[in-house]
Amino acid sequence: MSRWMRLGLPVAAVVLALVFSGVVATLVLLFTGDDVVGFWRVLFTWPSERDLVDIINMTAILYLSGAAAAIGFRMNLFNIGVEGQYRLAGLFAGAFAAQGLLPGKLNVAAAILVAMAVGALWAGIAGVLRVWRGVSEVISTIMLNAIAGSLIGFLLVKWGESTGNARNTKMMPEDSWTGFFRLFPDVSDGAYHLSLLAPLVGIAFFILVYYTRFGFDLRAAGASESAAVSSGVSVKKMIVVSMLLSGAVAGLIGVPMMFSEAHQYGSAFQTGLGFTGIAVALLGRNHPMGIAFGALIFAFLGQQANLLNILAGVSPDIVNMTQGIIVLSVVIAFEVIRRLATRIEQRQVATQLDAERQGDTALKGASA
C-alpha cells in the first residue's frame, strides 16, 4: 500500500466521521426545533485569545488522560479507573506539596512523583487482582473509582481545611506554585507550566511504545497474547507493569492545573477527566500523535460548548452527545478502512504471486 494511502485513508476517515457527526447533530437540532444556525456559528467562531489559552491547557490535560487510558488499551487492558486514580493522586500530591518539606520547585518535582506513585498504586490494585485472581479490570477499576471517591471524602474531612464552604487540602507554599507561559500579551494567564508534562509524556510514550523492547512486548501482548507468550513475554508481568504505567500517567492529570491555579486539592479540582480520556484515546487510536489530535478536538468542543447556552440558547449536552457520535463513527470509519486496506494489500500480494507463477509456468512450458 502506498504511503499516501497509509496516511490519507485515516485522515479521510476522521474527516468523514466528523462531517457525519455534524450532520447527525444538525438533524437532532432541527428535530427539536433548536437554533441550528446559532449552534454552528458558536461552534465555528474562532475562540478568543483567552479561550485559546484554555483550549491549550485543556488539550494538555486531556492528552495526559488519553495517554493514561491508551497505555492500558495497548495491552488490551481497559483501565476505566483513570478517574479514581487521578483524583486520589491529586489529593496526595496536593497534601504532600502543602507540607513544604522541600524547597521550591524541588517540592513540585517530589509532589509529581507522589502523584505518579499514588496513581500507579491505585491502578496496580486492579492489575494485581487481574493476574492473581483473574478479576476483570473493567469491573475492578469501576469499583476502585467509587472507593476512591469515598476515600477522598474521608481524608478531606479528616485532614483537610475549610475555605468558606469548600473543603481543601492546605494551600501549598508559594514558592511551590507554578506559573503560566504567557501566550498572548492581553491575557494574564497562559499555558500552565506543568502542561509541559503532556508533550513529555507523549514523547516518552512514543519512544517507549515504538522504540523499546518493552514497547514491543507491550504491543505484541496487546495484538496477540498467545503469540507474545510464545515469544517469551510474561503476560502477567506486562499486565501489572502496564497498569502501573497507566496509573502513573493518570496521576499526572490533575497536576498542571492544581499547581498553577488552585494550589491546593479541593472543590476546584476537576472531575470527569478520566472518562473523557477514554474517549480521547479511542479517537486517537491509542497512538501518541492521534491522542493529541483527539485531545484537541475534545478540548475545543468542550470550550465552545460552554458558550452554547449563553450565545445560542442550545443545551451544551448536544455537544457531549456529538462527541460520543464522533467516537463511534470514527471507529466505524477506521474499521471500514482497515478492511479496505487489508483487501488492497492482499490483492497486491496475490497479483505479485500470480505474476511470479505465470513466470514459472511460462518457463516450464518453454522447457517442456
Partner: protein
C-alpha cells in the same frame, strides 16, 4: 484492541463440572445458606436492620435495576456481544420512562423506556455486528452518546413543564403495586419476635405482600422467561451458539448476524426496562445522572453470576443489598456486623480449600478471615465515612474469591464476520 476478551474476563478455563454444579438447585441452596448466615449474624450482633423487612425491600428496589441491566448483559453476551453500553441504554430508558410516562401514562412509560433502550442496543449491534467495531469501544461511545442525548432531550422537553426542569421530568404516575393486607400483620408479628431465621424469613415475605410493585414481579418473571427461552428453546440454543461458536452456527444455517442483533436489541430493551424501574418505581421521575453506574454494576453482577440467570439474580441481590444497607438506619452498626459475616465466609472458604488440599488458598483465606474477625472484634462500628464503600469493596472481594471459577461464552467479545464458516 483486537481481542477484548482478555480484558473482560478471567483467563482461566475451569472444568465443565463447575458449570453443571452451579445449577438452579445449588443456587437456591446458596441463597438459603447465605440468608441463614445473615440471620445468624443478626442474632449474634443484634444488628436488626440486617434483615428487616425494610432493608430487604430497599435491597430489592436497589437490585432490580442492576438485575435488569445484568439480564441485558446476559442476553447480549450469550450471543457473543460484550455490552458495556448497558449504562447508556439504561440512561435512554430513564429518559423514555420520563417522557412517555409523563405524556401517556405508566404503561407507555415502560414501553417507551424499553423502546429507547432497544435503540441503544440497535446502535451497538450495528457497530459491532455489521461493522466489526471492538465491542468495548462501541459500548463506551454509546454511553457517551446516551448521556448527552438524555441531557439534551431533557432540557428540550422537560423545561417549563410543571414540576419538571432542564434536568428532570415532572413527577411520573406511580405504577401499580400489590398488597396482601391480611398476611402483613401476622408476618410483622413474627418478624418482631427476632427468632433465628424464622423472623428474618417473615421479614423477607413481608416484602412480597406489602406494596409490591407490579413492575418488580414483571422483572423477576423475565428471569424465568430468560432461562426458559435461552436454555429450553430452539431460539435460545441458536442464540447461545452464536456466543460460543458462531462459525459452527453459521455452517448449520443459523443466521448469526440476525441472532446477534436480536440479542443485543433485547439486551438494550432490558436495560431500558431497568431504567424505567429506576425512574418510576425507585423514584418518581426522570433525573439526569439517575443511573449512577448501575449499568456497570449490572455487568459485574452478570460476570459474578457466571453468565447465568440464577447466578445473576444472586449477584444483583448481593449488590442491591450492599447498596441499600448503608442508607438504612444504624448503617455503621449493620456494616460492622457484615464484617463478621465476611470473616465467617472467608473462614468457610479456607476450610473448603484446606479440604481440597489447596494450601495456599486455604492459608490466604484464613489470614484474611482472621483479619476481618479481628477487625470485627476490636471495633464497635464502621465509621460512616466507610459504609458507602461497602458495595464496591464487597464486589471486589467476591470477585477475587470467585472469578477463577467463571466461564464466559467462548466467542464473547470476538468480532465475527459472515462467511467465516469453514
Amino acid at each position: 484492541m483486537s481481542a477484548p476478551v482478555a480484558s473482560t474476563a478471567p483467563v482461566t478455563t475451569p472444568s465443565s463440572q463447575w458449570q453443571r454444579r452451579l445449577r438452579v438447585r445449588n443456587l437456591t441452596l446458596i441463597a438459603i445458606v447465605g440468608f441463614a448466615l445473615l440471620s445468624l449474624v443478626r442474632v449474634i450482633t443484634g444488628a436488626q436492620e440486617l434483615t428487616s423487612a425494610g432493608t430487604i425491600q430497599a435491597a430489592l428496589t436497589s437490585s432490580i435495576p442492576i438485575a435488569m441491566a445484568g439480564l441485558g448483559g446476559l442476553w447480549s453476551e450469550r450471543a457473543g456481544i460484550v455490552n458495556i453500553g448497558l449504562e447508556g441504554m439504561m440512561i435512554l430508558g430513564t429518559f423514555g420512562a420520563g417522557y412517555f410516562g409523563y405524556h401517556y401514562g405508566s404503561i407507555a412509560g415502560i414501553l417507551g423506556a424499553i423502546v429507547l433502550g432497544m435503540i441503544g442496543g440497535l446502535l451497538h449491534g450495528i457497530a459491532t455486528v455489521y461493522f466489526g467495531v471492538d465491542h468495548i469501544v462501541s459500548g463506551v461511545a454509546i454511553n457517551i452518546i446516551a448521556l448527552g442525548a438524555a441531557g439534551f432531550l431533557a432540557e428540550t422537553y422537560f423545561t417549563g413543564l410543571e414540576g419538571g426542569g432542564p434536568t428532570q421530568s415532572p413527577p411520573l404516575p406511580a405504577p401499580m403495586t400489590i398488597n396482601v393486607d391480611f398476611l402483613d400483620n401476622p408476618l410483622a408479628s413474627i418478624e418482631a419476635k427476632q427468632w433465628f431465621f424464622v423472623s428474618d424469613f417473615a421479614g423477607l415475605l413481608r416484602v412480597f405482600v406489602n406494596d409490591l410493585p407490579v413492575l418488580t414481579i414483571l422483572c423477576l418473571a423475565l428471569f424465568v422467561l430468560t432461562f426458559w427461552v435461552l436454555w429450553r428453546t430452539k431460539f435460545g440454543l441458536r442464540l447461545r451458539s452464536c456466543g460460543e461458536e458462531p462459525a459452527a452456527a453459521e455452517s448449520l444455517g443459523v443466521n448469526v448476524y440476525n441472532y446477534k442483533m436480536i440479542a443485543v436489541v433485547i439486551s438494550g430493551g432490558l436495560s431500558g426496562l431497568g431504567g424505567a424501574f429506576l425512574a418510576m418505581v425507585a423514584s418518581s421521575g426522570f433525573q439526569v445522572g439517575q443511573t449512577g453506574g448501575r449499568g456497570y454494576i449490572g455487568l459485574a453482577a452478570m460476570i459474578f453470576g457466571n453468565w447465568r440467570p440464577g447466578g445473576l439474580l444472586l449477584g444483583s441481590g448481593l449488590f442491591g443489598y450492599t447498596q441499600a444497607l448503608p442508607l438504612r438506619r444504624e448503617a455503621t452498626v449493620s456494616i460492622h456486623a457484615l464484617l463478621l459475616l465476611v470473616a465467617i465466609l472467608l473462614l468457610l472458604v479456607a476450610a473448603y480449600q484446606l479440604w481440597r488440599k489447596n494450601t495456599l488458598q486455604a492459608v490466604s483465606g484464613a489470614v484474611f478471615g482472621a483479619a476481618f474477625l479481628v477487625w470485627y472484634l476490636s471495633t464497635d462500628v464502621v465509621p460512616s465515612d466507610f459504609t458507602k464503600m461497602a458495595p464496591y469493596v464487597t464486589t471486589l472481594l467476591v470477585l477475587a474469591l470467585a472469578s477463577q471459577r467463571l466461564r464466559m461464552p467462548k466467542a464473547d467479545g470476538l468480532v465475527y464476520r459472515r462467511g467465516s464458516a469453514g
